[in-house]
Symmetry: C2
Subunit: 423 residues, 2 copies
């Protein structure tokens, strides 16, 4: 290892170890203190808007050099209003109930022991993200509110803006008495650093990657600690024979077209054979009118002139754009089989007025959220009422679906007695 490699390893270790120390102190911080930090930070971000916009201008200047498209640059740009939104988000997180210390379950045993299961922070979160500067403030706020120290590793594209934001958050932390190093922004955008952090499971309790599938696969493969993640969202809508087709049309068009580049958008439509002709003429045609390319099976291609024959690969594809696969199936069982084979276990929906069919579908579909007569787009922390979201999990271990404050906690048992010993 060269000296600079050794320096980087040591730097990452120091950051992680400092986060662990901050985490121990944070466990003892009151909800009041954490909320004061959130509210004062919101104020300080508004007051410091000029320094943030200055830093942001540097990012924008460097953006073309990173090969960013105009649309990507647009999402990077901050102005006074966007900084105000970032501040408002912190104030909203302050208003959420504090998960730390909540009693999840409690009982008194026959021998008089009181057993209480109490929510505690996970400890240290390593958050790796590619996105916009607002994510920096959001992630710091969600982690701290849930009592966790956080190591933020943002993309180089927003490095200056993120630095300016974190500097403000940490200055406020010092003022109000939040432990030093509760929020740390990794000072290097060296890709190697991510790999070093992912080996530090002595200090980091969970890694949360947010960004493209490549980043998430890399983090999952290299992490020695648990990871909260989803790789992709190949979400399905199944239109049952007992569906109201007007409702199906509204749901499918919303799920596919309302926002195409997101993980809970619909990528695949499955239709019951008994209703296929009407559904294709109404639902699929509505998608065609929205400019969506149809990758359909035989029946679909027969009825829709512009449809392209679907391959098995199409059924497995998350388009994240104006395309959809459409398949006709014999019954709800075939629909379930098709979906459980191709879905990424993120979000699936059924449109039906038949409660027996709906119950069968939700029981058999093995995804983080199953919607009955509602758009897949609702699988979201805000829409579920979690108040804030650090990511969505398609795993079954620890947390599944949208991950808010509670999902960043663990628990411990507190057992109170008056001298009980075991027989």
């Amino acid at each position: 290892m060269s000296t600079s490699d050794q320096d980087l390893v040591q730097y990452c270790r120091d950051v992680a170890e400092n986060a662990r120390k901050a985490s121990a102190q944070l466990q003892l911080c009151s909800g009041e203190l954490k909320n004061r930090w959130l509210n004062e930070s919101a104020k300080a971000l508004r007051d410091g808007v000029s320094s943030i916009l200055e830093a942001n201008a540097l990012d924008i200047k460097e953006a073309p050099g990173y090969g960013l498209t105009d649309a990507q640059i647009d999402r990077l740009v901050l102005d006074e209003q966007r900084v105000d939104s970032i501040a408002t988000a912190l104030e909203q997180i302050a208003m959420l109930p504090d998960p730390v210390g909540q009693t999840i379950e409690g009982s008194v045993r026959p021998n008089g022991l009181e057993i209480n299961k109490i929510r505690v922070p996970l400890g240290v979160v390593f958050f790796i993200y590619e996105s916009r500067p607002n994510v920096t403030a959001d992630a710091a706020a969600i982690c701290l509110k849930s009592g966790n120290a956080v190591v933020l590793r943002g993309g180089k594209e927003a490095a200056h803006s993120s630095r300016a934001i974190v500097d403000i958050l940490m200055a406020v932390a010092e003022q109000v008495g939040i432990p030093e190093n509760a929020v740390q922004l990794v000072a290097t955008t060296d890709r190697e650093a991510v790999g070093h952090f992912l080996k530090l499971d002595d200090f980091i309790d969970v890694a949360i990657p947010r960004g493209g599938e490549g980043l998430i696969r890399r983090v999952s493969a290299e992490a020695t600690m648990p990871v909260i993640k989803h790789f992709d969202g190949n979400c399905h809508v199944y239109v049952d024979k007992d569906a109201c087709l007007d409702m199906a049309t509204a749901i499918v068009v919303n799920a596919k077209c309302q926002r195409m580049g997101v993980c809970n958008a619909c990528e695949s439509l499955v239709i019951h054979r008994d209703i296929a002709e009407q559904a294709i003429n109404q639902v699929v045609s509505a998608l065609v009118k929205q400019g969506i390319t149809i990758h359909g099976d035989e029946t679909v291609c027969r009825l829709i002139d512009t449809a392209i024959a679907a391959t098995f690969e199409d059924y497995a594809t998350e388009y994240l754009g104006p395309s959809i696969s459409v398949r006709v199936v014999d019954d709800v069982d075939s629909a379930i089989e098709h979906i459980n084979r191709y879905s990424s276990r993120h979000t699936e929906a059924i449109v039906t007025s038949n409660i027996v069919t709906a119950r069968k579908f939700v029981a058999a579909i093995d995804s983080s959220a199953v919607m009955i007569n509602a758009s897949t787009r609702f699988n979201d922390g805000g829409e579920f009422g979690l108040g804030a979201e650090i990511g969505i999990s398609t795993d079954k271990f620890h947390a599944r679906g949208p991950c808010g404050l509670q999902e960043l906690t663990s628990y411990k048992y507190i057992v109170t007695g008056n001298g009980q010993i075991r027989n």
Copy 2:
């Protein structure tokens, strides 16, 4: 790879894939059906006692060849009464509430969407254990009751007994309509097989190792799926200056001596300096009378003739036998610091009548269970009222402390609407 290696890889893959298929069917099995299987299995085990005892005789015959001690062989031996206990345990598990389908939380959103968070099985459990034949039946019962398929990999020492038990369980499964392959016993005791299973995260949702630390470290290092485990239990009792010394003596003697080879036994005693002399004379002397070797610091060695000077290694040691480390500290903060440094985050206890001190201790100690005025030996699924236990976790992710039926479940969101689309 040789042909036999390839065969083994293929065999493991087939077992895991069959478990995955069984898991999908199990999700749809009613609680009534699972309970029928448990109760009929209990009956069948009692009826089949002669075949079990015959198989057990083979294990006992081969045991000396495996280098088992007399004590180990004794724990392997089954008789009519022990088989009856195994059967009774299944009947008790049948009586526990079914976790599958329970609503964890539910709300109605402003747009009328009903959001329900529903408990579902994790899927497929790979259970690796070294212990006695009763664990085979217990693990199968806990996994199935919680809706999970299980791949059992027992030690070679109990291979014949486990086979006989699983054969009976699966015959009953076929009779009552539980999916084939819901319970599978790995047919080889080849160590390589464990490694192959640990790579099959497409089919296995969680690995649970139970046995010596070597086994658990191996499973943790090689597993590609999440692991529920604890490595060891270096559990502490802290005797505060405000402790009742009679209570402290009873608790420490119980925690250390009631059963020494278990993970929730006390391995380290920490004493407040203000009470040190009395506590050493009373509490530590009581341990000496029980034949416990004392590894103590200066103060302890001065007061107890037979005490040996403790090293830092002693403070980190899980003795699992008649030894204990004892250290005097200046105050509760030093006690917390010492414990959080050396403990394995399993179970710690404080003896005090001071509620302020107790609150500080439980808030700062980062262990799966913290006891106030009670023995560490109570950290146990049965004692906590979980009814059954598949293991204890010292991790913070997913499950912490004793793991019963609930800890073998995940959840999914079921969202019910009447045509809601997202704005």
